[in-house]
Symmetry: C2
Subunit: 582 residues, 2 copies
């Protein structure tokens, strides 16, 4: 067998085994050393390949696609700094538990550490942010080594998606010539092992608590009247039904994060409290809502007010449910950790025969929540505020739709203005490490799963990943962007940095002074500036009937925005406190 045949059989068997395990999508950045992988992924008829030039955008695109499709996605790039551009998305995928399979091409051993071009040390280069690293052997094509590559492909796919999902990294040393040739006999298989018969079929269990442990938990909860269920960011679409049933049975409020998937869907019930971020900003209100116990699912909620609530009530019995591993409890309060699959666990609790505890408790939350929503829902005739733009999105978004939301102000405004609805809306964000990077590409990656996406983000996030827009043009992806442009870092106007008049604008406000219309037009997108809430709604609805990229820009003022929010919170707090003093 010559070099080309060995190389080809090695790589085809690897790629084919990924398909046998379920791979459907690969995101490829151009390069020379990665040629064998790129050509083979493009050639395999079961794989859709996405070619994205900027590797940073490519990795976030893969992240968005994996997050929406709930399947591992392959990333391929050449050797050198290309690989380092994946790092931000890998860090995010680790923390938000998204399955990615990173395949980096490398120089062979004899070209490492001796100043060869584009040769850097790629061994374990992503540190502990990957679940598994393996340095692949140099290509060989004996039966044993073709079993080996299939074994590694199968393991990679499995490890990416089992337990806490995450990233695996395989580094491939390739010698020149790098071209592959698919015309060899049975080049896609070895001894009849092909994508129709995986080499390592797997069955995987989920964590179930034994009956005695459930009983022990119930014993600990017994007699506690004022309980709260908290649902943080998570993407399992079966979970909302189970947790809502539990809350109904036990008569408990659910503080549902906008990324919990609990605020929308047919399951939506009275128990769901969406206004808690506004409520829990006031210490007296937090005292009135003092809990006996808290059961949290998913990651820590977006709301900072909620973390104040937790810190104020360290004596509440807190239970945090993690489906596999991790100790995500950022207040360091005493906490019971329950490692169990959340849906199954909710069902176990709901079926345990416990009855509603205190009707007044749930009533109190609902009453306060109504007050918060009333104020947040106030219509005004003035120029549009950021929260009003978010309201417009939630109003206009059709049933069965997907929203991707940026970090910093966008997700916080979504937290404040996303009312529970029986529409089925999946809301995604990069809440692993909360970066403002890669958001455009993540939204487009979600589109690549075959759905229209509404992406809501601020100007700094939009700027950070404008390169991502190229994929919208190239693949005509159906993306609607609501760009909330407050010309800089709006969140800093809420922080103490805002008091430093000397350096604030230069270091924190950081206005870009960019007219984004140019870049939208450069990528062949539709651009429009919307000035009122009604206008945003109309433009959104129009965009849902348009092909490709639409960008609706709303222009706001950071100071006015901060004051508007503060006045809402004050009004809510005032009404609640007066109400209770009567």
């Amino acid at each position: 067998m010559n070099h080309t045949e060995v190389l080809t059989r090695y790589v085809t068997n690897f790629v084919d085994e990924l398909v046998a395990n379920g791979l459907t999508d690969a995101v490829i950045s151009p390069g020379s050393r990665s040629t064998p992988l790129a050509l083979t992924l493009a050639e395999h008829k079961e794989i859709k390949d996405w070619v994205i030039i900027d590797e940073r955008s490519a990795a976030f695109f893969a992240l968005g696609l994996a997050k929406k499709s709930k399947r591992p996605v392959v990333l391929v790039c050449t050797s050198g700094t290309a690989t380092a551009n994946y790092y931000p998305a890998i860090v995010e995928a680790y923390h938000s538990r998204v399955p990615l399979i990173v395949l980096t091409a490398d120089r062979p051993h004899e070209l490492r550490g001796i100043g060869a071009p584009q040769a850097i040390d790629q061994i374990k280069m992503y540190g502990d942010f990957v679940k598994w690293f393996h340095e692949m052997a140099l290509p060989e094509a004996g039966t044993a080594m073709l079993h080996y590559v299939r074994n590694k492909a199968a393991s990679a796919y499995y490890i990416a998606k089992e337990g806490n999902q995450g990233v695996v990294h395989l580094n491939f040393p390739f010698r020149e010539p790098l071209m592959v040739d698919f015309s060899f006999n049975d080049v896609w298989e070895i001894n009849d092992i092909s994508c129709t018969s995986p080499i390592l079929p797997t069955f995987e269990g989920k964590k179930h608590l034994p009956k005695q442990q459930v009983e022990e938990i119930l014993r600990q909860l017994a007699g506690k009247q004022r309980g709260v269920i908290v649902c943080g960011p998570q993407t399992d679409l079966d979970f909302p039904v189970a947790v809502t049933k539990l809350a109904e049975k036990w008569g408990l409020p659910i503080l549902a994060d906008p990324l919990s998937q609990v605020r929308s869907g047919a399951h939506v019930s009275d128990e769901i409290i969406e206004g808690y971020d506004a409520l829990l900003r006031n210490q007296t209100v937090r005292e009135k809502l003092k809990p006996d116990f808290i059961i949290r699912f998913g990651a820590m909620p977006v709301s900072k007010a909620y973390s104040f609530y937790l810190k104020q009530h360290q004596d509440a019995l807190q239970m945090v449910v993690e489906n596999d591993e991790g100790f995500r409890e950022p207040t360091n309060n005493p906490t019971t950790f329950i490692f169990a699959e959340p849906t199954i666990y909710c069902e176990a609790l709901a079926n345990a025969g416990v009855e509603t505890t205190s009707k007044e408790w749930l009533q109190l939350w609902k009453q306060f929540n109504d007050i918060a929503k009333k104020h947040l829902n106030d219509q005004s005739d003035s120029e549009i505020r950021e929260g009003e733009a978010i309201r417009a999105v939630m109003d206009s978004t059709p049933n069965q739709s997907t929203i991707f939301v940026g970090n910093s102000m966008a997700v916080r405004d979504l937290d404040s203005f996303f009312w529970k609805t029986d529409k089925q809306i999946e809301v995604l964000a990069n809440r692993g490490a909360n970066g403002i990077d890669g958001v455009v590409s993540s939204g487009l990656g979600a589109c690549a799963a075959g759905v229209r996406v509404t992406l809501v983000l601020g100007d700094l996030s939009f700027f950070h990943d404008m390169n991502g827009l190229h994929a919208a043009m190239h693949y005509q992806l159906p993306l609607t962007i609501l760009l909330i442009n407050n010309n800089g870092g709006g969140i800093f106007s809420f922080l103490s940095q805002a008091d430093d008049k000397k350096h604030f604008e230069a270091l924190f406000g950081t206005p870009l002074h960019i007219d984004f219309k140019y870049v939208v037009h450069m990528y062949g997108g539709y651009y429009v500036h919307a000035k009122t809430e009604a206008d945003v709604k109309q433009k959104l609805i129009e965009s849902y009937n348009r092909e490709g990229l639409s960008v609706i820009e709303v222009k706001t003022n950071r100071d006015i925005n901060a004051n508007w929010h503060k006045s809402k919170w004050q009004a809510i707090e005032q009404e609640i406190l007066e109400e209770r003093n009567r």
Copy 2:
């Protein structure tokens, strides 16, 4: 002392000590956790701060600034994925030996590993690509701890610039509140230690070979007639004079890489051969130029033909000079490594009393070089070719100027079309890992050292770092960009990938189909499309009298370009082979 005073004194003493050691510039990306560092750097009157929002661009900007100024530059960002965006530039800085001091803000220990927002594991997150990592202590302000922070600042500055220059990474845990206050008494100093009196003054030696070792080297070279001096990429501006004197004394050709700083300057002499890349493409020509010995300085040259030459002549005695450490010899040929400061070493050899060896040998190289230059210099009336655009740059660039060149085709065309000149031109590139990322920002960083820069790069490199252009607008930096747009990856048309008709355009050609005029206008730059070599020259000269950013775009065709180069190489080879057969 309250929290704010402790925090302030800790950070001011750190920053002040950096200044005492020579720091002049800091590149800051906005964020909350990094507030103490950002405010202090902005407040220190001796530091120029550059605020750049996209951390990837920020890091490449710092790299370009450090490369041009030949001084360490500080980078500051907040916690989370922001830090991971530095990785590509850190990898490049490691390989191209550029001094950077990376300061990442972090959550304090009690907020790590528990799902707190924007908290990722930043300990040693850049692996072996940094020379030194240190996790800073939590802020304290006793005398001992203020000496400690000054000690760490001084060490960081020294380590970044000593020996093989590179990156140091300090990670700062900060607790809230994050605001600092400069109104405390003597807040910038401790016990009269301030930026006027560094805490660890340093003296550093360079590697000198002892006399006996120089004699042993001369013994090994004695009797060898056909020697070649090779100067690869390096940035020491004293070296070209010394190496040229050595070559004159010994009558040896210097194969001078376009990034060696040897092709231009008052020292330029007959010995300098610029056309070797075209000459060494042909095996017969390589045989005619068979060397007895090779002495190489700097990194491996850009020219792939040169590496063929090396591989063909494994029996030549090869000596590679490294100024501190590293084994940069990517052919794995038997090689003598000389660890010595190159300028001093050249002087030692030149002063050793050895005479010119073979006049015919140097004559042969000069004769071939003239043939190569004649063909490469042919003027044509057809539409502009990529090499002609480079010729226009070298013709128009004034004395005392700086050129930054992109990787892939741009640097290769510069290799072919940069004729030696007595103009003083510093030519820089990111040749550590040869990435197409971060090139715009690196060029702008060089501008930030206080000079006008001409940046020559292709459309994919331009695209990859368009975000970098924001700094050109924000700081009105004097950058002229020659954008050679062949609508995709031009280099692949020279490789075997070009034979794969089925996947070539999608995976390797990767046309962007972007009209870059939009983005230049978005950033307030001047844009013009130039169509002939004369036109490019004129537009370049005009741009040198304009403030801020000018982009001159040349549009070419990848296939025509590849054929044009090949026809040049064939004509050269044909004339040389006919000449020698006569």
